[in-house]
């Protein structure tokens, strides 16, 4: 499975939005994710990809595409 579909799957599960509503351009604001949603998403990503994401890096994550790009740069 590609990083993109894995990431979309995790976001869809964590934030309870259907995968077909997620494109790289979708921002977390678009899908009404609050700061705790983002923290929970990061926890799930850290677990899935066995990595640690710093607070500073979390701040730069605004859209689904940001997450995909970030994960792709690390794995």
């Amino acid at each position: 499975m590609s990083v993109e579909s894995k990431v979309k799957g995790i976001i869809s599960e964590q934030l309870e939005v259907s995968v077909d509503k997620l494109s790289p351009e979708t921002t977390f604001e678009d899908i009404d994710a609050d700061s705790l949603d983002i923290v929970e998403l990061v926890m799930a990503l850290e677990e899935e990809f066995d990595m640690e994401i710093s607070d500073q890096e979390i701040e730069n994550i605004k859209s689904v595409g940001d997450v995909i790009k970030y994960i792709e740069s690390k794995v």
Binding site: D34, L36, V39, E40, M43
Partner: protein, 247 residues
Amino acid sequence: MELSGKCAIVTGASRGIGRACAISLAKAGASVVINYSQNKEAAEEVLKTIEECGGSAAIVKANVSQYTECEEIVKCAIDHFKRIDILINNAGITRDNLLARMKAEEWQEVIDVNLNGVYNCCKAVIRPLLKQKSGGRIINIASVAGIHGNSGQANYAAAKGGVIAFTRTMAKELGSRDITVNAVAPGFIETEMTDNLSDAVKEKIMDQVALKRFGKPEDVAEVVTFLASSASYVTGQVIAVDGNLSM
């Protein structure tokens, strides 16, 4: 029973208020993780008492002022009971002294256990709690000293006041996940912690208690169990269990 299938962690559960909370939660059906820091025999006695009542529990040694040891408490809960629903931050110490004579270590030790311990345990518990997605209950044992202040307890009162502010903040952060966070503020409760006060001091305190008796650990445990089992629309509150002590 109302708490069957739930797992509760109680820190400092070998004696006093923690012990009473552990037993009361177990009687309500919860599986209990009994944390202690020094008195293993007392912790085992609590375990035995719970098992004799038909409850289930496990004991784990940990000093809550150390984060890595708090992770052990969480591990114990997951290993034995596969989940965590309730955290009772009860572990606490006193190093009473007037400020003019209070040593830096006396200040620090109390802050480390009574305030940092609450942060450490909440921090260790929060990930599994969020991941379970089934809500949760955090109850912090504060003190009336943390509300009114108490001469000779600058360290203790500061830590407990900190716990109260922490409680109110956590209630806001975690409310959207159905995790309630409340504090119970005991007044004068008959435990080892209050045992060594002089009779003169005890008499003076008694004068200020409307109910004209000192509290028992069970009086506090009752309120804690209520917050842990019912009270689903109560969060961010500080409930004094003090017989109306006017400090």
